[in-house]
Structure formats: structure tokens, C-alpha cells
Amino acid sequence: MFPQFGATAETLSKASTIMFRIGTDAHLYDDPEDVNIAPLLDSKFDSEKCEALKRLLALIAQGFDVSNFFPQVVKNVASQSLEVKKLVYLYLLHYAEKRPNEALLSINSFQKDLGDTNPLVRAWALRTMAGIRLHVIAPLVLVAVGKCARDPSVYVRKCAANALPKLHDLQQEEHSSTIEEIVGMLLSDHSPGVVGAAAAAFNSICPNNYSLIGRNYRRLCEVLPDVEEWGQIVLIGILLRYAIARHGLVKKSIMFSLHGKESPQSEKDSSDVEFSLEKDNGTMDWKYNSELASLVSRCYIEGPDEYLSRSSYGNRMFSEFHDYKFISAKSNDNLMILLHCTSPLLWSNNSAVVLAAAGVHWIMAPREDVKRIVKPLLFLLRSSSSSKYVVLCNIQVFAKAMPSLFAPHFEDFFIISSDSYQIKALKLEILCSITTESSISSIFKEFQDYVRDPDRRFAADTVAAIGLCAQRLPKMANTFLEGLLALTRQELLTSEFGSIEGEAGVLVQVLTSIKSIIKQDPPDHEKVVIQVVHSLDEIKVPAARAIVIWMMGEYSNLGEMLPRMVTTVLKYLAWSFPSEALETKLQILNTSVKVLLGAKEEDLWTSKKVVSYVLELAEVDLNYDVRDRARFLKKIVSSKLGSQEVKDDMIYPPQKEDLPHVLAECILRAQTQQLSLEPINYRIYLPGSLSQIVLHAAPGYEPLPKPCSVLHDEHSPETNKLGEGTDGSGSLSGSSDEETVSDYSSERSVTDSDGDDGSDETGSASENGNDVDPLIQVSDIGDTHINQNGVPQSASTDLGEMMSKRALESWLDEQPDMSNPSASGQSQVHRSSARISIKDIGSRVKPKSYELLDPANGNGLKVDYSFSSEISSISPLLVGVEVSFENRSTENISEVTLVDEESNKASDSAECSLTSHSDVPVLVPMEDITFLEPGQRTKRTLHVRFHHHLLPLKLALYCNGKKLSVKLRPDIGYFVKPLPMEVEAFTDKESHLRGMFEYVRSCTFTHHIEELNKDKEMGDMLTRDKILLVCETIAVQMLSNANVFLVSVDMPVAANLDDASGLCLRFSSEILSNSIPCLITITAEGKCIEPLNISIKVNCEETVFGLNLLNRIVNFLS
């Protein structure tokens, strides 16, 4: 790409290393495509497969798209060879998102591997399965993670922790509570290695769920030194946040300084500490850093953007911080333990750990203890230059806020030639802010060396730093000035020919520094001004000349010598005016007028002459700025000049003196104010954060939580159920909001950030999620409110149509005869004669109704929906949804309509390929309901195209002209339609769909027990057969929840009437969108009167759909 770099080196090394390349994979990288890869992948030898995969990896490394090999590669996932497996995984992880459908083919193999005895295989399978990030398999991954989180192998548990953020990334709200639950479980793992990974997961999933930490706080602190290094970094941050949110800030810590200003008592306290630390520092210095320290602490808590924008109104009132609870670290064990456990980490080999631990001490430790972070931080400067830079950025803030910390260690910031410019500049700035009177002489000596640095930009910076140091230590000003003047002379010599780049910059900087030093105490430095002005002739750089000329004008009245030489210099300037550069010309104009205004009697005449000469020259200058300036100045000083066209004004000499003169005085001769130290507006972020380096808040940056914002004591029962724990966090953040709201009403509360979108759903999900398999949370959210009026009728008629007579014939009422040997001796598939009426079962089939809009949110409008088994005539992709509107309020509701909110959401979901039929509308528009009286109820049938059978569809509901957004959750059971078939056809089809198209799960079925009990109460035990009843209940459950066709019922042959083992129901259906058949078989086992073990088998070519359907069935049957 860039042949100018290292081209020769490359050819050379190629020749020399050719020998060593034998036996490596070099040829694969160089010519990955010199053989046909495809046949190798299908080879039966592992070595050939390996070679093919390596070639593919080489192509990936070089940036080629080889996703077209995906199907062939996926096949190899089942290979026994670990190397092949690993290579396949590497390939899969790279492309899975691009080819979701094919990636699913690998799922079965992962499932198998998860049960392997080798922990390495289990871990790899889990990592890859979670890593391919497909929404559809998220439920499976969640189950796998849950299982692996209890694995005996530490390594597998660690991988489980790492897999959690991958799941969380898919943003499936319904799983979030389960994920958090697993995080909590892993956080309390007994192996430190797992805890570290769990901490990382916690940080990216639920960083504000303090209840999870609160439960384990002490243990986490104690285990901290044993956690592996990367986990330590994250865990330290988590514990710090928790400690502040729970226990507040520490008295006498750096964070306390802002408070120290308020009460005199603590002022004394903290300043005592400060002075004992830096005995030889002036009071001004102390003030300086206390202001900064308060800025620091404020920025940590509020984030600089917020704080600075607020303070720009001049409102630096601290009132709202009064309520922060400050506690003394010595009295609080919980804080002590954190400090105690992080202090050995300051010796860690990992620089990130050291910096994180130092951050905790900086924020939490009492001031006198903060100094223990100094040496470890300085030691970090001996590591790689990259980390050096980051560490210095952090030290810079520490040193500015508390110079006394680093003041004795100034030698560590001396520059060496191998430092990069950025590092040099940082060191210089730190040196500037930590100089004290005792160290300044050594530092100044160093500075003198730096001025000769080959990097002239840095030399210029050094000169600027000298100027800054002089401002901090006025006593040294003379020494500095001498040095600077010597430098000017030297610079003048070298830049005589103006040939050297960068010298000009140094010279300008030297003069700027001189200027700033003189400004502090002009009378003292009169001689310096004279000296500089003397060298004016030798100074060639325009910017530098301008500065000298400015100084001359500014101090023209100073002392004895200067006023006398001013006119001479002015003449010289007037003479050189035409040949000057722009900025010098402007400055000459200003200065000459200043001199004129301040001129004494004897010089007045000369000055006038010179000024009018210069002004005239300037008025015809080529540059318009110069011309404008000249005209402006001429008007202002016209009186003083006694100019040529004054005749008329002569009558009023006193007045003429007045206005313009005063104006001129004001503008040009007003005493330049001694600038106080410029307002401190540094952007300060938490130590060790990325934001602190790039100096803006990176996405995801969060300032520290508000002190004591978590009031709940979470230490209580350790046995607290996890589900309740997460609920607790919801209420917890809520309550803390209320607590904080009065105090920080204008600010966004940190604590509620995890609450709103998650809590209501997770809450309801965890209600039934406690003892139930997590998979069922897919779509079971919302009220299971059964609509009693309208729906059943329609459903029963639908069912009548749907279940063909033929099918129902097999459903027969002949169970009393079942024990009849002749019947049971035959094939169990065919049964005849007696029948149950359609109504009998039909009336019991009640499609579930879900709530779309709660009357509380919709001003009394209640909207429910249920899926209808009616097949849309418009397009096979549409699912029929029956929506019922009911007005529960006392007022009329008008203009109710339901439309699609945003139609293009599907494009970013990974599965768009599944449903990319954009010609079909998302929602077939329904007729508007123009009017709904109180208590009135209306129904509409919608035809909806869901983007995906798991993802909810966002709809907008308009009523009374207002827009409400609602979510329509799909039910996978209605993404199929009945596919009538004979039982032979069924078994035939089933035999074609074995292997990876077959999925089985089992669950416990208990619905029939209710029925049995009901029967018992009615006392007609004898009239109904138990097995029949079981059959019926299963069928009703199936038919009420899915749009399927009942193919056959196999009855058990056992003599025992009570034994339902062998009962088998078959249902068939086809997927709406692609008409792929989907066969469902349910077999039961166990006694009729007891909960039955039923196993459900789904055979379907569409793997994902089948799996999800299976999960759904298990969900509603159990």
C-alpha cells in the first residue's frame, strides 16, 4: 500500500527467512487461494480440512469476504478434532451475523458439545454459541449459560460470565432479569477467577444494580487481591461506586474540600493537613489548589459538562451539596475495608490495576493517606511509553489539585530524549504546577537544558513554562528574566538569518514570557524593558517585534530612562514602518498614539510629528486593517494632534480636550489590570477513565453516583430470593429518586437509569420466572385475562371449520370401550364410531387474550387482543389478530384507530432475511372506530405482519386525536396454519425430518388435575374416563394456544386405567410465511391422577422456528 516504507527491508528479510518458513503456515497466508478450497472442506481427512480452514482464515485476515463457504464450514462443526473445531469456531464467529440461517445449523452441535465431558469443549461451545449473536437462539443460549454458570469447571463458569454481556447485547428485554440473576450468582462464586469475569459482566449489564453488590460487598472487597488482574480493574470501579452511593464521601478526603469552605471548623482541619504536607508553600498556592480540588470533586460527581455549564452562569453556589453525608473513614468499616483491600494492589504488575487502585485512594482516602499512591504512580512511568502517557495525564490532574503530593518527586518528571512530544509537554506542565521554592533552582536548571532540545516546539513550551513558574514564584522572577534575556541574545544570534524553522516560535515565546513576568511588577523590571527595546533592531520576527513594541508603548512612562529614549525609538519605527509586517504595523500605530498621549511637554512636538507621519503612511497602506486602524486613531487623537483641519473647533478648546481625549485615554492608556489567575475550566473526569484522556465524555461514561443515594440496607437476608432482589432494585431506585429529588431536582438522577424500561417487564417476568424455566418468558408477559363475552363463540366456530370432521372422528367418545380387547388389539391409530361433539371441545377452546392498552394509560380505553386462527386472504404472511376495544370511562371516545408506528424497524434486526417481503404491509389498515360510548365494546380484526415471530411490533393507537404507542407481542402459535393430513402422511413426513430437524423437550402437565378435581366435586367420576379427560385437556390446551390441526390420538394399551403412559397426540401445521410443514407430537407418561410427564417433539425444517415453537408449547402446556 505504501511502498516507500520498508520495501527493501521486506525483500531482504523475505530472502533471509525463507529457511525458517518451512513448516509454518506461511504458504497459506501468501497464496491462500492457490488450491480449490471447497473440496478440501469436504475431505474426510482432518488435516485437509484444517488446511482449508486455515486458508479461509488467511483470507479473512487479509480482508476478503469468504462467507460463501459458510454452509460447508458449518458442516464441520461436528468434527471430533479439536483443532478443526477451533478453526471452525473462529470462522463462525466472524461470519455468523451475516449468515444467520446457516449459522443455526451449528446449534445442535453446540448443544451436544455443551454436554461434553471435556470442560474445554464445553467452554468453547458456549463461547461460540453466545458469540454468534442471533436473536432467535437467545433463549437457548440463556439456558446454556445458566447451566454453565453452575458448571464444576472454573474455566467454564468464567466463560459463562463472559457470555452474559453477549446475550445482553441482543437487547431482549424479557431476558434481562434472568441475566442479572445469573450475574448475581456468579458474583458470589467462590472462585476469584469467576468473580472477576462476573464483575465485567455486571459492569456492562447492570452497573447501577447496587443491590447485587450490596449483598456481597465485604466478600468482594476481601477477595479483591485474589481476583485476576483484569477483573480487579473493573471490580475496583464497581466497589468504589457502590461505596459512595451507599456510604457517602469520606471526611478529610479530597472530595471533602468543597465542603471545607463552608464550615470554619473543617476549614481549619483540612488546611492543617495541607500545611503540614507542604510547609514551604505560600498561602496563595493553597487557595489555588483548594479551588481546583473542589472543582475536581464536583466534576467527579456531576460530570464536567454539566458542572461547567452550570458554573458558567456565575452560579458556583454549593448549597445543593450541603446534604452530602460525610463520614469519617476511620469510623466506617465498610470504607476502611475497601481502602485496605485496594492498597496492596498498588504493587500490582498491571499498570491499569495500579491506576484504578490509586483512583480509589485519591477519591476515598483521607488527605494524609493519599500520598501512598504517589510512588506507585511514579513507578508506572517506567513502563511502556503508551502507558506512560496515560499515567501522566492522570498525574497531571492529581498534581494540579494537590501539588504537595508530587512536589518532592519533581525529578521523576525530568525529560529524557526518548520521550515523545506529548509526554514531554505533559511532564513540563506537571513540573510547572509542582514547583516550590526549594525545587525551583533544580527545575530551572533543567529548563535551561530543555531550551536546547532539538525539538523546537518543545523548547518554546519550556520558555512558556518558565513564564508560568515566575508567576507562581514571584521571588524567582529576576533569575528567570536573566535567563530569558540571555536566551534572547542567543536566539538573536542563531536566527540572524531567519533560516531555521521553529526558532521564530521560540523567540516569540521568550518575549511573551518576558512580557508576562514584567507585567507582574513593571517598576522593578524597568531595565529589562530597556534592554529588550534596545535589541529591537536585531529582532526580525514580526510577532516578536510586535511584542517589544507593545511593551515600549505600555511602559513608556515607566521610570527615568525609558521616557527619554521613547521618542528616538518612535522615530526609528516611523522610518521602518513601510517595510514592516502587518501585525507590527498595527502595533506601531497603537504604540505611537500611546506615546503621544503620555508624552511630556518637551517631547510633545516630536511625538506629534511622528504620529501624524505614521498615520498618514498608514492611511495609504495596502492593507485595509491598517487603514481602518489609522483612521480610527486619527479621529480619537485629533485633538491631541492639533491637526490641520481643526479651525472651527478652536473656539471651544476645553470641550475639545474632553471626550475624545478621555476616550483615547481609556482605550489606550488604561492601566492593564493584573490578571488574576485565569478561571479554572479544566475538564476533569474520573481518574483512569478514557474520558480523562480524550477530554470529552466518551459514550458510557458515568460520573460517580450521588453520595448516599442508596439508602436501602441490602446486607440483610442473604437468602433473599434473586427474583425479589431485582424487584427490590426497582423500588430501591425509585425510593432513592424521591430522596434525592428535593435536593438535586435540576439534575438527572443517576440511579433511575436502569429502572424504567426494564423494571415493569422484568418484574412481571420474574413473578412467574422464579420456579419456571426461563425460556417461557418469551411471550408470556401481560394479563392472561380471558375474554368472556365475544371471543369464545367466534373461536368455536373457527374451530369447527378448522378441525375437519375426519380429524375429530379420531377423537372419539369410545373411550369406555377402550379396554375392549378387540379395539386395543388393532392398530391404535384408527378408531371409529363414537364421537365427541364439536361443541364439547370447541366451547372449551379459548384463545388467550392479551392486553394491548391498559385503561389507566388510555383514558379509560381498554384494548385487548387475541390471535385468531383465521387465515388471512390477503397474504399468507399476515397473522390475524382480533382486537377488542372497550370504553371503560364515563365519557365518549372517538376516532380510535390503530396504525403501524414505524415500518422500517425490521431492517436492523438480524433476521430480516427471514421476512424481507417488503411488498406486504406491516398492518392491513383497519376501519376506524368513529365513536365509542361509555361501556361500549367493539371488535376489529387486524391482519398483521410481524417482523419476527419473537419480536414485538410497535403500533400507534390514536384515540381522541392523541397518539399512544403500544406493543403487539407475537404468539408463535399463530404463525402456523393447520395442515390437514392423514396419520400415514404424518409418520411419513416425520421420518424425513429426523436428526437435526427434530427437537424434543419435556415438561410436566398438570392442567388435567384441575379438571379431575372438578369432576370429583361433581361426583360423576364414573361417567368420564380419566384418560379421555387427559386427552381432552391436552388437546384443548394445544388448540387454544396454537393454530394447528389435530391428526390423531393414540391411546395407551395398558390394562391399568389410571396409567396414561403411551398416550400420544399428533398435530400438524405449516408455517404461514413459507409453507414448511411443522409436525408436533406429544407423548405422555405417568398416572392420570398425578401430574404427567409429557414430552413434546417438533419436526420442522426451519430450525429456529421449530425450536421457538417448541419452547412456546412447553410454556403453555406446563
Binding site: 488435516s47 470442560p119 483484569w230 525530568f414 515523545s420 533543567e446 483512569g688
Partner: protein
């Protein structure tokens, strides 16, 4: 967390890309990076943290290879940098060096290593000893084997025992016929001598390197006679903190093989072994240089591999340098190296010569900085001494060895 890692060659070619999370990073970020590097020059390449328009980039440069990691969200930057350093360490350890060809030749191993070292953007296994057991480093035998049989697997099929143990840096079932443990004190001397010839700063950066081959799970304790001279310390994770806090004793279960037990710093030293006296005078467009090197404080052992390196100031057009001992070499980028090796007994090595300045420049105003390199075997200049090394359970046939050496580190003489 990190989203992607790229390995770039010194010509800007992307040798490898490893996506870590679902948020893919397009390769075009590397083009952006490289264009910036070309337009902004060295100062950009030395910036470890870069905010690009779309991502935050972390970079480290090792042996001409740029390791570039990308993220879009807040994360501790040192964590990323430290991790990249570890990757570079592990790779150069595995490949016995680090250059473009080595990485390309072993790209499969690099991929496998990266995959094991980081999972979903968070470091997974970084302990070199464990990695070695999971992924076998390439060696002559396996190379030959693969040539002969066309078949080689470097992926271990079992999980190293250490991942499950409470000492994650050590496998439990190690057996040796001869038990050995070697302790090396490797020190580097950093010094700054300023323009006036005064010693501004002199300190030692040292490492205690241990090479242990001991059966079972040994418990070692190492103590120093004078631990109080240590200014700062950093430890390998195996070192227990408490014994050090209370008695300044290193108590640890060592990893198997070579590792860095601790690093330390000794500050404010007063004596340097070698002096360098530069003299530069310039007038009328030429500059005379005279450089003398000699022993200042004899450390008692021979000093060898002495080199003096300096960058000629940019205003120098040509230089003619000769020495009475050793070899002088000037590279095209004006880097001058004088290799002395040992200082002869009979004379003091000196380098002298004249340099021609650019036209228009009368005198030199930017002076070179001389970097001194040397090596002393058998002595630790900091004065640190090992008191004793003890094993809790002494195996039969144990050999303990101690060594010390000092090198020139950041040793600079300004002129």
C-alpha cells in the same frame, strides 16, 4: 470493552483483523489511521489514545508492528494498552521475535492466541504459562513433523489444570528429576547528567527474574539483606502481599519456567560507573567535537558492551568522526553510534572530528544528547543483595542459583 484488534505492518498493511464483539469495526478505520499517521508524522504514532471520528483507538508500536484496538465506549485506557502489551509480549515469546513475516507465517497461531486471550472484548487467559499449555508454540520439531506428515495440531485438547486451581499461574502436576531454581537480578541504570556535567538524577530500575523447575507445588520465600533501599516495588500476581507488608519477605508459589517475580526501583544513587565528557565548539560554520569516555567508579567487574549513541543536530550537513578505539557508525538519519565494548587499559577512548553546519548557520545552538549503553555482569549496582531463598518442602536434589547484572538504561549525558 474492546471491539476489534488490528495488526498493522510498518507499511500500513493490515496483517490481521480480529473482531471481538457484535459491533463490528470496519477495516476502513485503519485507512483513516494510516492516513493520519502519514500526514501528521511521528507525533501521531506516539499518541497511545486517539479519538477518531467513529472510534477510540489504542495503539502500541512494537518492532515496527502496530497493535491497534478499537472501542466506542468508555473503558479504562490503560487496560487496553496493558492488554496490547501483553499480546505483543506473548506473541514475541511464541514466535521468538516479532516482525511482519513471523506474524504472517504463524497467523493461525496468532488467531488462536488472540481468541484465547480475549473474549467479548474482555481479557480471558493472559497468563503465558497457561497459554503455552493450551496452544503449543511453533518449534522446530512440530515444523518438521508437519513437513513430513503434513499434519500438526497445536491446539491442546485438554484444559490446563491451572485454570481450575487456586494458583492460576501454575499447573499442579509438574515433575522434574532435577529441581532447579535460578534467581537473576537484572538492573538497568537510569541517569541524567546535565550540561554542566552534574549528576541530576541517578536511579536503578531492577527486576528479579526467576526461572524455576520444581516438582509439585513449591512454596518459596525470598528475602533480601537490605530491602529498605527499595523505593517502589511491583509484584507478579503470585506474590503474597501480607508477608511483604509486615516483614518484607517475598512468599510465593512460582509459575513453572521463567517469569518476572518483581520489579523495583532504587532512587537517588550517587555514583555512576562511567563518565562521558563531550566538548563541542562551533564557529564559522564548522563544529569540533571531542568525546571522552572512561571509568569513574570501578564496580569491581569488567564493564563491556559500552556504546555511545547520539543524534546529530539537524543543522549539521556532514560529519567526519574518528576514534582511537572502537567503531563509529553514522546512519542516514544522522544517528551516530560509537561502539567501544571494553575500555582498554592503556588509553582513554575518545572520539573526535569536525562537522560542517548548514550554510547560513554560524554556530550550533541545538546540542546532541549522548545515550550511554553498557553491561556489567555479576554485580547489581543498586547494592541490593539476596539474603536467602528457602523452600518449605525441600525436594531431593535441589539446585539454587543466583546471578546479577546491570545494564545501561535511560542513561543520558547532555551537552
Amino acid at each position: 470493552m474492546l471491539q476489534c484488534i488490528f495488526l498493522l505492518s510498518d507499511s500500513g498493511e493490515i496483517m490481521l483483523e480480529k473482531q471481538l464483539t457484535g459491533h463490528r469495526v470496519d477495516r476502513s478505520i485503519c485507512d483513516w489511521f494510516w492516513n493520519q499517521a502519514i500526514s501528521q508524522g511521528d507525533s501521531f504514532k506516539q499518541q497511545p489514545v486517539i479519538a477518531s471520528p467513529t472510534h477510540y483507538l489504542f495503539q502500541i508500536l512494537r518492532e515496527g508492528i502496530t497493535f491497534l484496538a478499537c472501542t466506542q465506549v468508555e473503558m479504562p485506557p490503560l487496560m487496553a494498552i496493558e492488554f496490547l502489551c501483553r499480546v505483543a509480549d506473548v506473541l514475541s515469546d511464541y514466535l521468538e521475535g516479532l516482525n511482519e513475516d513471523l506474524i504472517k507465517d504463524n497467523f493461525v497461531i496468532v488467531y488462536e492466541l488472540l481468541d484465547e486471550m480475549i473474549d467479548n472484548g474482555f481479557p480471558l487467559t493472559t497468563e503465558p504459562n497457561i497459554l503455552r499449555e493450551m496452544i503449543a508454540p511453533p518449534n522446530i520439531v512440530s515444523k518438521m513433523l508437519s513437513v513430513v506428515t503434513g499434519n500438526s495440531s497445536n491446539v491442546s485438547d485438554t484444559l490446563p489444570g491451572a485454570t481450575a486451581s487456586c494458583v492460576p499461574w501454575r499447573t499442579t502436576d509438574i515433575k522434574y528429576a532435577n529441581n532447579e531454581v535460578y534467581v537473576d537480578l537484572v538492573e538497568e541504570m537510569d541517569a541524567i547528567i546535565n550540561r554542566d556535567g552534574a549528576l541530576v538524577k541517578c536511579e536503578i530500575y531492577g527486576e528479579v527474574k526467576v526461572n524455576s523447575h520444581i516438582t509439585g507445588v513449591p512454596e518459596l520465600t525470598l528475602s533480601f539483606t537490605n530491602p529498605s533501599i527499595l523505593n517502589d516495588v511491583r509484584f507478579h500476581p503470585c506474590v503474597r502481599f501480607r508477608p511483604w507488608e509486615s516483614h518484607q519477605i517475598l512468599s510465593f508459589v512460582p509459575p513453572d519456567g521463567q517469569f518476572k517475580l518483581m520489579s523495583y526501583r532504587v532512587k537517588k544513587l550517587k555514583s555512576i560507573p562511567i563518565y562521558v565528557k563531550p566538548q563541542l565548539t562551533s564557529d564559522a560554520g564548522t563544529c569540533r567535537i571531542n568525546l571522552m569516555v572512561g571509568i569513574k567508579n570501578d564496580p569491581g567487574k569488567t564493564i563491556d558492551s559500552i556504546t555511545v549513541q547520539f543524534q546529530l543536530p539537524p543543522s549539521i550537513l556532514s560529519a567526519d568522526l574518528t576514534s582511537n578505539h572502537g567503531v563509529v557508525n553514522i546512519l542516514s538519519n544522522k544517528m551516530c553510534t560509537w561502539s567501544i565494548d571494553r575500555i582498554p587499559k592503556d588509553r582513554t577512548p575518545s572520539l573526535s572530528g569536525t562537522m560542517v553546519l548548514e550554510t547560513g548557520v554560524e554556530r550550533l545552538h541545538v546540542f546532541p544528547i549522548f545515550q550511554l549503553g553498557f553491561r556489567i555482569q555479576g554485580v547489581a549496582l543498586s547494592g541490593l543483595q539476596i539474603d536467602k531463598l528457602e523452600l518449605k518442602v525441600v525436594p531431593n536434589r535441589l539446585y539454587k542459583g543466583f546471578r546479577a547484572s546491570t545494564r545501561g538504561g535511560l542513561y543520558e549525558v547532555r551537552s
